[in-house]
Symmetry: C2
Subunit: 119 residues, 2 copies
DNA sequence: TTGACGTATGCCCATATGGGCATATGATTG
DNA sequence: CAATCATATGCCCATATGGGCATACGTCAA
């Protein structure tokens, strides 16, 4: 097997920096492809391709408007990412600068992994 | 150019489901490679390879302990992901079920994109 | 109808992936 | 020292990527 397709899920789609830029650019409201091209300073075909990926994973939606295509952000599709990473929030929260280590050690012990444990 | 290396940043590293599992498994405290192998039910070499990627992007750290390698989660490395996705939290917040559309439309107008705008 | 505009596709390439497998390396025990 | 355990690497392959480029397609204006 090779690497999972970028269109597999939001995680993969958004791993690409340029696509994150597009998402950010759409945060202020819908934009046409050309507006995105200008905003990102990237060749139009490339923008279209990135938009296709984002579309396929549901991160953006399109609306046809004459010869334009207006892309809009569908934030909901990003929620799985948020939900996943949110669970680790404590790990960088300031209140846990030292406390977390202690707690982690405790949990480990409770968890009962054979390897004995100190730090 | 091809796809960015998985070791480019946390975004890419964590795009792989198996690596997300590893991260989750480490949330309860450090684990040896073998413990992870058992927990994930994946061949050891594969686990080691995934750990390497996570290590290279700083998501995990290792501590040598005899012939074992104890891996520990370094949550801080995940913060960039959290920070990025957090900005879109409003988009799926319940309070914005309809309100967001309205606001988005407004912002768009203020923003002054030429394309005229309705829904 | 013809031409210009706005987007999407197709084709090409170099690249690195995830997984399978065998094996190297290092530490420990007998 | 030899055997065993715990991990890491190496090699192989099929796959799809992001980008460059040309061009097809649909819409609108003369």
């Amino acid at each position: 097997m090779a690497r999972a397709a970028t269109t597999t899920d939001a995680f993969n789609a958004v791993a690409e920096p340029r696509r994150r830029e597009i998402v950010a650019a759409l945060a202020n409201g819908q934009r046409s492809v050309n507006e995105l091209v200008t905003a990102l300073g990237v060749p139009q075909p490339l923008v279209s391709k990135h938009l296709r990926v984002l579309r396929e994973v549901g991160v953006v939606t399109v609306r046809e408007d004459g010869r334009q295509r207006l892309y809009r952000l569908n934030g909901t599709a990003l929620k799985p990412i948020y939900d996943w990473v949110k669970d680790f929030e404590d790990l960088w929260s300031e209140r846990f600068t030292r406390m977390d280590v202690v707690l982690a050690e405790l949990k480990e012990t409770e968890y009962g992994d054979g390897s004995d444990d100190d730090d």
